[in-house]
Amino acid sequence: MIFRFIGPLKHLAGSEQLEVPLRAPAQLQGLLGSLATRLDRLIPYGAKTTEAQLMANLSFFKDNRMLRLIDRIEDSDTIVVILPPTGG
């Protein structure tokens, strides 16, 4: 599967995307470790524990649908990753 980075995340990640081979479908939660360990600059996000805390810092979309951490990801999937807008 592919994590595709949007906006400033591309700069933080140092690339436009990250490919993570999946032998079997997996929950998004289980892929966060790969995201964090393979991209040093995202480690702070990986350390977040609760779903809400994570999603305050990162959001994941597939086909314009926002994903929850329990959603199943397949090897053919492309997951769009964004820094969610906040601010006043």
């Binding site: 400033p8 809400a52 810092n57 926002m66 820094l83 969610p84 807008p85 906040t86």
Partner: protein, 621 residues
């Protein structure tokens, strides 16, 4: 007529007269409401000879067709007047409940001119409006005043009220809106305009919603969208607008040390997540809003206890926290409460204090000037003390109450080199070196350095809107096409503020332009398409520019302060990001069909149906 009452209140405080004026179908469709109708009223009734703090200034507020309906996140109104802070168009868009309660009295908007000979408040109910005595609460803070006003009207009423800052003409005094929750119309000194008119408050409560063209279709449509909004804004609601402080510091969007810093470890101490885990006692929501981004905080121990009040939001964290290097969350909560209580804009307050801290560091201000306060970076106690002094114009607060730009000009010693303001307005907490769309938007927005004029940072970060020609998030630092992107976003946010819909409904693409157009048609029965919808936004943006043009604004004023144009931040990841403003402005004027000096062309005005305003444009356009 659906979605409107088709009339507005016109109140002359000098004459103590209350009149009702009709709003035509044609004007409603042309300007929709909110910022559009407010801009038209301001344009037609004030100008270069108007004193912002004189009786001739007109303070106007408008709701929109979404107000009081089932449309989510739409309980807002738009306030406008000639600004005492900037001397040009002033405006503030605010949520809460006042808009709904006001519109349910049977009016779409209100305009107030003149000056009362003694303190008054305006009561607006189902039977119309009355001017009443407010002498007993002149000098009282906003909370005590609201309690008194509700006791003399209706407890369920919403109160738009000024505090001591507005009474004393602090140029960035706000209007606190107190119903079941508190929201402030902070920017550009609208509270000072109220104070100059001896107008303490506007209290509203009505029971007459405007009729809708197709309420069943609206109900069904909105019902489908609400779960989506709840889902994609879950984190936004849980951690509030300051949920992204850490992210913004990391990518270089968060303001640090009067905009000269690169990195600040204190950001994590004042983030939305930290607030959630420490002082947060609950969430608050404007009427009909499923997001509930508002914070309620409670502090029971320490120097700022007891505190049980509305909590600070992102822009306050940026200006009072990052800009001043104050990482004491409880102190920021206290200063934020003082701003709500005394009626001050948290953003201009924080920015002006940050500017003063740098002036102190440079020796331009000393303890002799500051009433003995050591105005050092990160001094949380000074932040709280100065907030109060500004509100009451005590000591150094007299000078600081003028705003950072005037303060810099009065201090001399090249202080204008490090003051950070555009057209006199201190910026929002979004760095235009990180998001060039905000550089261009700060330079061209009608009220000065306003992030909401385009909300471009959100569309560089993550958002897109295919219907208006933005199919992907805009590529940061790409100058080609930036002008068109910013102009489209400014037009879109203008029509958004005419409806009125909250920006935050755009988070996660929860509410799209298609949703807005559909809802507008279900409410009004108009059959408007997306092109006409966007043309309304463009018309409003040009009308606001036209107003400022008449006041002398041109390209010479569409500039950014030296700190944004020349100061490269030291962190390697944040260097070489200075915006190429000259090039962007040229592209922008061309795209907008404005002259090289930034004046809307007659052809453009004609295209937008603003022909009869020709006479008020400068010669040679």
């Amino acid at each position: 007529m659906f979605g409107y009452h088709g009339k507005m209140l016109w109140i002359d405080l000098t004459q103590r007269s209350v009149a009702v004026r009709p709003l035509s179908d044609a004007d409603l469709r042309k300007y929709i409401g909110g910022v559009g109708l407010a801009a038209r009223v301001l344009h037609d009734n004030t100008g270069p000879d108007t004193d912002p703090l004189g009786p001739d200034n007109v303070l106007t507020a408008f709701t929109g067709p979404f107000t009081g309906t089932r449309v989510p996140s739409a309980s807002r109104h738009h306030i406008m007047a000639l600004s005492p802070l900037t001397g040009i168009l002033g405006e503030s868009n605010v949520g809460g409940s006042w808009a709904v309660h006001f519109k349910n009295t049977g009016f779409d908007g209100i305009a107030i001119t003149g000056r009362a000979d003694r303190p008054v408040y305006i009561w607006i109910g189902d039977e119309g409006a009355e001017i009443r005595d407010a002498q007993p609460i002149w000098g009282k803070d906003t909370y005590d005043s609201a309690a008194w006003l509700k006791s003399r009207t209706i407890d369920k009423a919403s109160v738009a009220v000024i505090g001591p800052a507005g009474e004393r003409g602090v140029r960035y005094a706000s209007i606190s809106h107190i119903g079941t929750i508190v929201r402030s119309a902070g920017r550009t000194g609208m509270g000072a305009v109220m104070g100059s008119k001896n107008l303490k408050a506007m209290v509203a409560y009505g029971t007459q919603p405007a009729p809708l063209a197709d309420p069943d279709a609206l109900k069904a449509d909105v019902k489908q969208v609400i779960p989506h909004i709840r889902k994609v804004t879950e984190a936004f609601g849980k951690f509030g607008t300051s949920g992204g402080v850490d992210n913004y510091e990391r990518i270089g969007n968060f303001p640090i040390q009067n905009w000269r810093g690169s990195r600040w470890e204190g950001a994590g101490k004042i983030s939305g997540a930290t607030m959630h885990d420490t002082v947060l006692s609950g969430r608050t929501a404007c009427l009909t809003c499923p997001i509930a981004c508002g914070r309620h905080v409670k502090i029971t121990e320490g120097p700022y206890a007891p505190l049980d009040c509305e909590g600070p939001e992102y822009e306050t964290m940026g200006t009072m926290g990052g800009e001043c290097l104050v990482d004491d969350l409880e102190a920021i909560c206290k200063a934020n409460d003082l701003c709500n209580r005394y009626g001050l804009d948290t953003m201009s307050t924080g920015s002006t204090i940050a500017f003063a801290m740098e002036a102190f560091e440079k020796g331009i201000l000393t303890t002799e000037d500051t009433d003995g306060i050591e105005l050092t970076w990160g001094n949380a106690e000074a932040l709280v003390t100065l907030t109060r002094k500004i509100a009451f114009r005590e000591g150094i607060g007299e000078l600081m109450g003028e705003g950072s730009q005037r303060m810099a000009e009065k201090l001399g010693n090249n202080a204008v080199e490090f003051v950070v303001a555009v057209k006199g307005l201190e910026p929002s907490a979004h760095d235009p070196r990180r998001f060039w769309s905000q550089a261009l938007s700060y330079a061209t927005a009608a009220r000065g350095a306003c992030h909401n004029a385009s909300w471009g940072h959100a569309y560089e970060l993550a958002l897109s809107m295919e219907e208006i020609g933005i199919p992907e998030p805009y590529e940061s630092y790409k100058a080609d096409g930036m002008a068109e992107f910013v102009a489209k976003m400014q037009n879109y946010q203008c029509v958004n503020d005419a409806l009125i819909s909250c920006r935050f409904a755009q988070v996660g693409k929860a509410v799209t332009a298609t949703n807005l157009v559909n809802w507008l048609n279900q409410i009004t029965g108009w059959g408007m398409d997306i092109d006409e919808f966007m043309a309304v936004g463009e018309r409003i943006f040009n009308l606001k520019r036209l107003y400022n043009t008449r006041l002398g604004i041109s390209r010479k004023d569409d500039v950014l302060p030296p700190r944004f144009m020349t100061l490269n931040r030291k962190d390697p990841d944040l260097t070489n990001q200075l915006p190429p403003l000259g090039r962007l402005l040229g592209d922008y004027y061309e795209y907008r069909n404005w002259s090289e000096d930034g004046v809307p062309s007659n052809r453009k005005l004609s295209e937008l149906g603003l022909d009869r305003l020709y006479d008020s444009t400068p010669a040679g356009v």
